[in-house]
Amino acid sequence: MRDYLYFLWRCFRISFSGGWQYRLWMLILTVVALLGLNAYCKQLVHGMATTGMTDQVSWGLYIANFTFLVGMAAAAVMLVIPVYVYRNRDLHDLVVFGELFAVAAIVMCLLFVNVDLGRPDRFMHIFWRFNFPISMLTWDVVALGGYLVLNLHICGYLIYCSYRQQKPSRAFYIPFVFIAIVWAISIHTVTAFLYVGLGGRPFWNSAIIAPRFLASAFAAGPAFIILTLQVIGRATGYRISDQALSLLRGIVTVALSINMFLLLCELFTEFYSDSAHMASTIYLYFGLHGHSALVPWIWTAAAMNSLALLVLYTPYRQKRAVLNATCVLLIIGIWIEKGMGLIVPAFIPSPLGEIVEYQPTSNEILVCLGIWAAGLLLYTVFVRVSVPVLSGQCTADQVRRRGAERAAEAA
């Protein structure tokens, strides 16, 4: 126990040390996170009126970011499956970086849900009257909480074993890894069901939403990991193999293709059947009765995703710079498609046919940026600490030896 606390203390010390780039990056993130906190305090004082949400569009950027990040968290399994199911040992250490990102993403999700509450002080009520299993939101609480605990356990255990220079005991983490794989799929499915289950919102009331969620998440998540791994490699000298990147690239290509296919299925059904339910889709893609705030966004997303998919099928994908640019394109594309493109249009027109557009306020955007900064800050610290531990530069042995030396000097 004392050893473990000392380990945490050393992690704390390490997270504050680093080169100037590291310090600058951390400083920027801290400043943005504090600006977000400041904006959130204003929201607490003045109410949700500080956001662009209305009774007509009652969910906005917060829930959009939440949905996107649940997918990012779920995508960590795309690193885990090759390693544990297909026994691809080369990626073994990289799994930890993926799962650490899952932890950071879930923390961001929880923050996004929390800032969306009108009465966060009553959050405890879920422990006294939990409408389980009827309300899908309770399922989501269970799924996200469970996933957070699973990943914290797996990463924490592997990292601490490495610190102690012990071989991790398989019984202590392999079962959890397999549970986490299934759980990851479930968190995003349950999040999709949150929307799909609402009969009064035809835009969401479609069985294809859950598969689309998974496909887009398994494209954006690994794309993000491709970028992060290179940054980690650059900043820490940790060896990132080309094989790892090309495996991830393959996953991104397949997932993005499936996502595009599902999107086309959805669009065909909506437009060809010409049902009265397509008003939201028309609003999203072409505007409705002169209201078209989302039109430029969704076409940008469509262009970005199509271009990314095209590049991924050409030989240029081998070039790191091209691959990175493609990843950035599709992450942004999917963020728009899934965030603004999937949450907001379901509210427009309203169930009574009213068209009220949604325009996020600067305060709301600041809160979002603050949460993203806090999440990245958390992830940076995780990586900062885990790299020296995993590569054996920071071990429990050092402490023991120093203790022994001191004892020898004293004698």
């Binding site: 050393r10 010390r13 390490i14 504050f16 040390s17 801290t30 504090l34 600006l35 906190l37 400041n38 305090c41 204003k42 607490l44 004082v45 109410g47 949700m48 009126a49 209305t54 009774d55 009652s58 969910w59 250490d93 849900v113 969306d116 509450l117 009108g118 009465r119 009553r122 009520h125 879920i126 006294w128 009257r129 409408n131 309300s135 939101l137 609480v141 074993c161 490495s162 220079q165 609402l198 009969g199 009064g200 919102r201 379901a346 309203s350 169930p351 009574l352 046919g353 009213e354 995993l390 590569s391 054996g392 530069q393 920071c394 071990t395 042995d397 050092q398 030896r401 120093r402 030396e405």
Partner: protein, 329 residues
């Protein structure tokens, strides 16, 4: 997992983290002080936070259904004191229970409604809704004759004289569904269906996630995006725990069939005020009641039957009536 490459060597290992030096320590202390100052600045808006709603008593307040009679009495006393402090009036507040053998149903004659919106205003006055931001439970749609498509309805019609010849009027409010999606989705059971069919909200339990608002196919629910503003001289002092007692920011509210009135044998404010008798209300379990007769003899329909919510709010056209609005739809 990589094992430490240097662990086999006998040479003393340097510690990975930098040693504590005086300079480093001072820098760290300065950084920590700066960080705390920045944190303080970030939190500074909280000094304007209205703490009157954040007392320990309120924090520990239990769910409506978990309150013992004694605890309910305490809660009512606390709310009376709150209202007195905020509006300078002592309300007649009680927790009116549903009556046995009663299921409330609403019927609205589209042929009679003239779109005057008196129901909207009577509702606001009766139920202590926020005047700023404006919260209204009833929305009246001006519909072109020959259409039942709500997307063609005008929510903001503003005429010197109603009704307009080419339109008919369709008021919408909470339909008190027998299969309510809003109740199903609430993660904390802050909203539920009472034995007399009314869907109520415990304003002291709602966490304000607005999932119910997304779930409602009739756009019947309203959220308090800001602290409700209610002029003291306009407070309706006849209040119910689950109905029209003043709300605070961050919680949902909606029509509750004026249960503080209807459970005491009176009519809802919107029914009472309607100048043309388009609104009918009563106990459907009583075969002699007007609503039971309407359901039996008129051509009634419900809005969005396909979503399976089983509303207790029926629209109908009284074929025998030829009033100012005539038949529409």
């Amino acid at each position: 997992m990589s094992t430490g490459a240097g662990s086999e060597h006998a040479a003393p290992l340097p510690r990975y983290e930098p040693p504590v030096t005086r300079r480093g320590f001072l820098g760290g202390a300065l950084g920590a002080a700066g960080g705390l100052a920045a944190l303080g600045a970030a939190l500074s808006p909280l000094k304007d936070l209205d703490r009157s709603d954040l007392t320990l008593e309120r924090f520990l307040q239990r769910h409506y259904k978990d309150l013992s009679p004694g605890e309910m009495e305490q809660a009512l006393e606390r709310i009376r004191a709150d209202v007195a402090a905020r509006y300078g009036v002592t309300p007649h507040l009680c927790d009116v229970k549903p009556l046995d053998g009663v299921e409330f149903v609403y019927a609205l004659d589209l042929g009679r409604c003239i779109g005057c919106r008196r129901c909207v205003h009577a509702c606001v006055a009766e139920n202590n809704q926020s005047r700023d931001p404006q919260i209204e439970y009833i929305r009246v749609l001006e519909m072109p004759r020959g259409s039942v498509d709500v997307e063609r309805g005008d929510h903001y019609y503003d005429r010197a004289k109603v009704p307009d010849r080419d339109h008919y009027y369709m008021p919408v409010q909470c339909h008190q569904c027998a299969n309510p999606p809003c109740v199903k989705v609430c993660p904390i059971e802050a909203t539920w269906q009472e034995p007399d069919g009314v869907i109520v909200i415990d304003y002291d339990w709602c966490i304000g996630c607005r999932y119910c608002e997304a779930a409602c196919p009739y756009w019947a629910r309203r959220f308090n995006f800001a602290e409700p503003e209610l002029p003291a001289d306009q407070v309706n002092q006849d209040m119910g725990y689950l109905s029209n007692r003043p709300r605070r920011k961050g919680v949902m509210e909606k029509c509750h069939f004026c249960l503080h009135r209807t459970r005491a044998g009176r009519l809802p404010a919107c029914v009472e005020v309607c100048p043309v008798g388009a609104r009918k209300f009563g106990n459907v379990l009583d075969p002699e009641s007007e609503v039971a007769q309407i359901l039996k003899t008129k051509h009634v329909y419900v809005l969005k039957q396909e979503v399976g919510t089983l509303p207790r709010f029926f629209y109908y056209l009284d074929e025998g009536y030829h009033g100012s609005a005539g038949g529409g739809g």
